[in-house]
């Protein structure tokens, strides 16, 4: 009885076993530990930024049952990723799957190791979209959403294909109430940056802003319908130093229109830190141009 079903079930358990050898427990907060993925055989562990409440005294629970101390290499809150180095011989690094093989509707497993043993749950790929920007301004190669239920302690664990390959890292904190996976290309990029710089640099103006509709005549003249009204300007921040004031409406940065927050965040990439930018704004009904040196986000 249950020929196909038995085979499917066994194949799934095998996928969990295979991928489980690179799933570790990450003890970086009080109460419930979370999960992490062995990235390389020199002991790099990838996990979620939000499960590491402290930078020191991180414990890594290895697949063989041992717990080894971990040292934080760096974290990137904008993509909710963190890299930890563990000195011990850690287990097998994950086998990765490229996203071009993946389609909406594919069965996937989410793995975690909040306790001693590996745990698993099942779902399907719900959405596979283009690149997107996280609420924190991080750029992610593909939008990858699943319907897997993220159990407590599953954040930082892998999304696994039916062959036991890792598709990405699961996080429940990037967008509330949605199970999102950070795909492998983004993981590679963030790991590389964290290994080189210890952090992911992001440009920073030191303003809080909200999109507002521009007056009709101005909108027509500029060819853009909205701008960004400054609701706060941080004291001594890059914007204030450049002369921006509360109540200004940002229109463009270096000639490129800023109609939504996304557009502004997109321009504040790491390479722009320390460079000077021409800011066009609306103040008292007049357009004005100022120079601002873009800072680095703390």
């Amino acid at each position: 009885m249950g020929d196909v079903l038995s085979q499917v079930s066994e194949a799934m358990a095998q996928a969990v076993k295979t991928a489980g050898e690179s799933v570790v427990r990450v003890e970086g907060r009080r109460r419930l530990p979370a999960s992490g993925i062995l990235w390389s055989d020199d002991g790099l562990v990838l996990t979620a930024h939000h499960v590491l409440h402290h930078d020191d005294e991180i414990g890594i629970g290895l697949p063989d049952g041992e717990t080894a101390p971990g040292k934080l290499v760096g974290r990137d809150p904008s993509t909710d990723l963190a890299v930890v180095r563990v000195e011990a011989r850690a287990g097998k690094p994950a086998r990765w799957m490229e996203l071009d093989q993946l389609q909406v509707g594919h069965l996937v497993l989410a793995l975690g190791r909040p306790g001693k043993t590996v745990q698993a749950t099942l779902g399907v790929i719900s959405a596979l979209g283009e690149s997107w920007r996280t609420p924190g301004g991080g750029s992610v190669e593909r939008y990858l959403q699943t319907d897997v239920v993220m159990y407590p302690g599953f954040s930082g664990g892998p999304l696994v294909g039916m062959g036991g390959e890792v598709i990405g890292l699961n996080t429940s904190a990037l967008v509330r109430g949605v199970s999102l996976t950070i795909p492998v290309p983004t993981l590679r990029k963030v790991v590389e940056t964290l290994l080189t710089h210890g952090r992911v640099r992001r440009g920073f103006l030191g303003v809080g802003a909200q999109p507002v509709r521009l007056p009709g005549a101005l909108a027509e003249r500029l060819g853009q319908e909205t701008g960004l009204l400054l609701l706060s300007v941080e004291a001594d921040g890059p914007a204030e130093k450049g002369g921006l004031m509360l109540g200004d409406t940002l229109l463009a940065l270096d000639g490129a229109p800023v109609r939504h927050l996304d557009e502004l965040l997109g321009m504040l990439s790491g390479e722009r830190v320390g460079t000077s930018a021409k800011v066009r704004l609306l103040r008292g009904g007049e357009t004005k141009e100022l120079k601002v040196t873009i800072g680095e986000r703390p």
Partner: protein
């Protein structure tokens, strides 16, 4: 490929039909009904202690008869109870090995959720053993990624071969189902029978 999915569906349906033959309904005088699992052909029924926690128990067996049941033993700590009805030749489910379950394997829970008779819910094993932290830190469990509802309690959790691997018991949080593993049920019965022979 589509044929494969169809076979999978047919197998699931066949499994449900077979397992349903060993599923009973337990009326305890309250509203709604609990579930139970036929353990022995001569009328031994297993369920949760919280389902059997009443004086007047009546059990509807798969052939449609409703019979009075006698409480043989119960253990609130394990949340298990053994009941007996006066019947012979009941369809028994073969027992699986709950110690050999592993995360990612398919399992199915049968019961009468919200009064829906003989309903089946499928999911996978999340993990086994003692839960870490959380509200339940005692005892051994099979944790499963399926939703157990009032009326599931006491019903069978079966594996892909239709073998009994657990007794559906409760939810831990909004999305985690918990079942008492069948090896714990065996130990409970061994202790019970041992006591009787004293």
């Amino acid at each position: 490929m589509a044929a494969l999915l169809k076979r999978l569906n047919d197998e699931l349906a066949e499994l449900a039909a077979t397992a349903r033959a060993s599923l009973v309904q337990i009326q305890n005088g309250g509203h709604g009904a609990g579930a139970g699992t036929i353990w022995h052909a001569d009328g031994l029924i297993l369920t949760n202690a919280h389902v059997a926690d009443h004086r007047q128990l009546r059990i509807t067996i798969p052939d449609g008869r409703t019979l009075p049941a006698r409480l043989l033993a119960h253990d609130p700590a394990l949340d298990l109870a053994a009941l007996v009805v006066d019947a012979k030749g009941l369809p028994v489910m073969s027992l699986g090995d709950s110690r050999r379950l592993s995360p990612g394997q398919w399992v199915m829970a049968l019961g009468h959720p919200w009064g829906v008779e003989g309903a089946l819910t499928a999911g996978v094993v999340i993990g086994m053993g003692k839960p870490i932290g959380g509200p339940i830190s005692r005892g051994e469990w099979v944790t499963v990624s399926l939703h157990l509802r009032p009326g599931h309690s006491g019903g069978p959790l079966v594996d892909v071969d239709g073998k009994l691997v657990g007794i559906n018991t409760m939810m831990a949080g909004p999305d985690v189902g918990m079942a008492v593993p069948v090896h714990v049920v065996k130990a409970f019965l061994r202790q019970l029978l041992g006591k009787q022979s004293d």
